[in-house]
């Protein structure tokens, strides 16, 4: 491929050698890419803060034997800079980045929808458009959906019988009817299921009208559903500070 250009969000960085970093990127066109940023830890580096976590950048890369090399970087949006100034939002941004990393682990397989979700979530967090905790939950549910684990919050996930149903099953894929109900089910409030549906569909007007206790219950379900589907849970999720 030689030299190529792409838009990316920085998911994570690792120190490499004396002054370099391995930067894990979620790109618009090439999916997850791990690339080397040479000399980036020197205070004189031309990259400056552009390759820090949660930065949205326009990159030029050079295909390498094992890892690509970042040759140029321009900032599109400094989301990371804004978010690191608010500790609670920074913890949420970390959960967004880690989730995206996990859902796009198959390197270089395009993941445009996941990329757009990450950019959208970081922008919404940075702009304080909605309650940050709900922004995170909406991102997590939609990432699950994009990853092929869309839970049902209405119709029975087993037989399709129209909902709403009383029971919710992690293993069963969401709402289940009385007939299909497997042994371990929860019975969340119907308002909670409505909220989860609203978050998945991006209906913010309805979502912001929900009560705090239903938001808390929704968060618990999202977190449980996520750890059910990811082999090991997210490291950042227990450290998220919900204000």
């Amino acid at each position: 491929m030689g030299l190529y250009r792409d838009e990316a969000v920085v998911l994570r960085t690792h120190k490499l050698g004396e002054a370099d970093r391995i930067v894990t990127l979620l790109t618009r066109e090439h999916g997850q890419v791990r690339a080397v940023a040479k000399g980036v830890r020197r205070t004189m580096s031309k990259f400056g803060a552009r390759l820090e976590p949660a930065m949205h950048v326009d990159l030029q890369l050079h295909t390498g034997r094992s890892l690509d090399i970042i040759t140029q970087a321009e900032t599109l949006h400094s989301y990371g800079d804004v978010l690191s100034g608010d500790y609670s939002k920074w913890t949420m941004a970390n959960a967004v980045l880690e989730t995206a990393e996990r859902f796009t682990a198959l390197v270089e397989e395009p993941a445009l929808q996941q990329f757009l979700l990450v950019v959208g979530a970081l922008r919404t967090l940075a702009e304080s458009a909605y309650d940050p905790a709900m922004v995170l939950d909406a991102f997590l549910i939609r990432s699950l959906a994009v990853g092929g684990y869309a839970p049902s919050f209405d119709a029975c996930s087993r037989c399709g019988a129209p909902g709403p149903h009383k029971w919710f099953s992690l293993a069963g894929g969401g709402s289940v009817c009385g007939e299909c109900r497997p042994p371990a089910t929860a019975t969340p409030a119907s308002e909670t299921l409505t909220l989860l549906g609203n978050l998945m569909e991006g209906d913010w007007e309805s979502a912001v009208a929900s009560e705090a206790r239903h938001q808390r219950e929704a968060h618990g379900i999202v977190a449980a559903y996520l750890s059910w589907h990811l082999e090991h849970g997210l490291r950042s999720l227990p450290l998220v500070e919900r204000t």
């Binding site: 400056g48 690191s84 100034g85 500790y87 920074w90 880690e98 490291r235 950042s236």
Partner: protein, 199 residues
């Protein structure tokens, strides 16, 4: 793969930070070909450092006694504490000869994505240390990257109710560079931290 103990050496070296498999192999063969006296000296210093060096009970810096050299020095200003991530940051700041106060070494930066939260660092120790002291200023000198920034943001919020003066090291343009190459975040910070030019 090499036989037995050679491979063990390569594996051990490869676990060191910043040492990849190729470098590990290179170092291993350097050791194999080195003068036994040189290798003996390395072995001795490795053993000695693990036996003698520990962490200062006050600030967390590396120390050869219960307290580090800086904490034991009565001439250091007791009213100012400079918070850094690692012991090597203490060394870097000491070299400037600009700072006469004492330090607090956190042992890293907060990084939720790596599973490192406030409880994994020496933040509780800092709060205890400040509780009954004559400290009036805390300087937050975490790394000038976003994890360092988020750590400073967290600390500033914890320290605010104590009524101390909390300052952050100015970040700005690297001396020796061209303005046009500065990225937006660095340039923005440099504007925020500008100082009056009164000569």
């Amino acid at each position: 793969m090499y036989e037995g103990v050679v491979q063990d050496l390569i594996d051990e070296l490869g676990r060191l930070p910043g040492v990849g498999p190729k470098s590990a192999q290179r170092i291993a063969f350097h050791i194999l070909q080195a003068d036994p006296v040189d290798v003996r000296r390395l072995v001795d210093v490795l053993r000695e450092v693990k036996e003698r060096v520990r962490f200062c009970s006050v600030c967390g810096n590396v120390a050869e006694e219960d307290q580090c050299r800086i904490c034991r020095d009565g001439r250091r200003d007791h009213t100012v504490i400079c918070v850094v991530e690692e012991s090597k940051d203490v060394v870097a700041i000491e070299k400037t000869r600009e700072f006469r106060g004492r330090y607090h070494v956190l042992g890293g930066a907060i990084s939720p994505i790596e599973g490192i939260g406030p409880d994994n660092l020496r933040i509780k120790e800092l709060m205890v240390r400040l509780a009954d002291s004559d400290v009036t200023e805390v300087i937050l000198a975490t790394d000038p990257n976003l994890e360092g920034e988020a750590t400073a943001t967290y600390l500033a919020r914890m320290l605010k109710p104590l009524g101390l003066r909390v300052t952050r090291l100015a970040s700005g343009l690297p001396v020796g560079g061209d303005l046009e190459y500065a990225d937006e975040v660095t340039l923005g910070r440099a504007f925020e931290g500008r100082r009056s030019f009164d000569h």
